[in-house]
């Protein structure tokens, strides 16, 4: 399985964010997208996730499920954590687990894996930033998707949380998944570096 984007160009608000960009990552491989603020890291991830239409170029996943498009086989972990404050931790996770569908894991086990099993019935409104991030990470575990698109995945996580997430990423890569992560901090796993230029 190989994720590849060829000759990608992204224009936002009339301004060219990046152009002529080639991206590729194979199964079991992590790609760390680095660069200064405004370099287009998030834009690149959103192009890969199908949330932005590239002005030029194509994105494809070779060797994945032929019936499904790339976004349908990918998890996107963005800045915004897609949690509803009115719902409890368990309700939030169960919803995404049911809605995203496909091969799912037991929700309780996923919460335990990110260390949130004690807060199962707590409304998400009362979670701290780090706990919200942990709950978002539990979503990645609860539904099996081969491609993880991560935007600053370790922000707000404490040291233990970061170590935990590194272990989870290792497991994901070992099971044949691939990761594209935009990050400022070292990811903590062996990753190929994709350096994006300064703001245009």
């Amino acid at each position: 399985m190989r994720l590849s984007g060829r000759n990608l160009k992204c224009v936002r608000g009339g301004r060219e964010v990046f152009s002529g960009l080639d991206v590729s990552a194979a199964a079991g491989e992590a790609l760390a997208v680095t660069g200064p603020n405004g370099a287009g890291k998030t834009s690149l991830l959103r192009v890969l996730a199908g949330l932005l239409v590239p002005a030029e170029g194509t994105v494809a996943l070779e060797g994945g499920d032929a019936e499904l498009s790339l976004p349908e086989q990918a998890h996107y972990l963005g800045h915004r954590d897609a949690l509803k404050p009115a719902l409890s931790v368990m309700e939030n996770l169960s919803f995404w687990r049911e809605f995203l569908g496909g091969k799912t894991e037991d929700a309780g086990r996923c919460l335990a894996a990110v260390g949130l099993d004690h807060a199962e019935h707590l409304p998400a409104a009362y979670l701290s930033a780090g706990q919200r991030r942990r709950l978002s990470i539990a979503r990645l575990l609860s539904v099996r998707r081969p491609v993880w698109l991560l935007d600053e995945p370790t922000s707000a996580l404490d040291t233990a949380g970061q170590a935990l997430f590194v272990a989870l990423m290792r497991d994901h890569l070992a099971s044949g998944g691939l990761i594209v992560a935009a990050t400022h901090l070292p990811l903590g796993i062996e990753a190929r570096d994709l350096r994006m230029g300064g703001a245009a």
Binding site: L51, R80, G101
Partner: protein
């Protein structure tokens, strides 16, 4: 299917929790209707003649009040991104969200109608007629309003823009809803004629709404 059921269950649950839209809509409906007799004065005959129109306007404004959050809430917290990426067709997801909104915010208005009919001096037949037209017509309000809610996300403007976009679209529904109620109360038209058109408007918006909203969301994401 289970994905859509999960989405409907989630939206209804959020609407019914504290801070959700369901109760606010009914309270607003109640307030508008209660204010009318004070504005019109104690003329019972006039009040019962205006009754169906007042109830319809109240329901229209109440559903508009809660429609605003239909997509913006999901857009702000990033849920919409995941919904767009998911394996569920976006059109069906939009339809599911609108259905959940109607169940949580539209049905309570219809349940409240008989009580509010009393305040407007409507007799049993008239109240029943208004409730029936609201039952047939509010899905049209929700499903056309959904288009405006999706555009509000696309254009990054909520609130008033939605009202300006949606209210003109709801004019036909309002006309035939009130006409059917009046027909049942005073004639001379048979109730069935405007009521069938009202049902037709609802059915048409059930089809057009999800497609238009999904198209708007797809092109407007950034």
């Amino acid at each position: 299917m289970s994905a859509l059921a999960a989405l409907i269950r989630r939206d209804i649950r959020i609407a019914l929790r504290v801070g959700g839209g369901a109760l606010i809509g009914v309270l607003f409906f109640l307030t508008v209707t209660v204010l009318m007799p004070f504005a019109v004065g104690p003329d019972l005959a006039l009040l019962s003649r205006l009754g169906p129109a007042i109830l319809w306007l109240g329901a229209l404004l109440a559903s508009l009040l809660t429609l605003d959050r239909l997509f913006t809430a999901d857009h702000e917290d990033g849920s919409l991104d995941l919904i767009v990426m998911s394996r569920t067709p976006l059109e069906l997801a939009c339809a599911a969200k609108a259905l959940a909104h109607w169940i949580a915010a539209g049905l309570p208005l219809i349940v409240a109608t008989p009580v509010l009919g009393l305040l407007l001096n409507l007799d049993g037949t008239a109240t029943l007629a208004v409730a029936a037209t609201l039952l047939a017509g509010t899905p049209a309000l929700t499903f056309t309003g959904m288009i405006g809610a999706a555009l509000a996300v696309t254009l990054h403007r909520g609130g008033l823009l939605l009202a300006v976009l949606v209210l003109p679209l709801s004019i036909p529904v309002l006309i035939f809803g009130v006409a059917a109620s009046q027909a049942a109360i005073s004639g001379p038209l048979p109730f069935g004629t405007p009521f069938s058109i009202l049902c037709a408007l609802s059915l048409a918006s059930l089809v057009i709404g999800p497609f238009a909203a999904a198209a708007s969301l797809r092109h407007g994401l950034d």
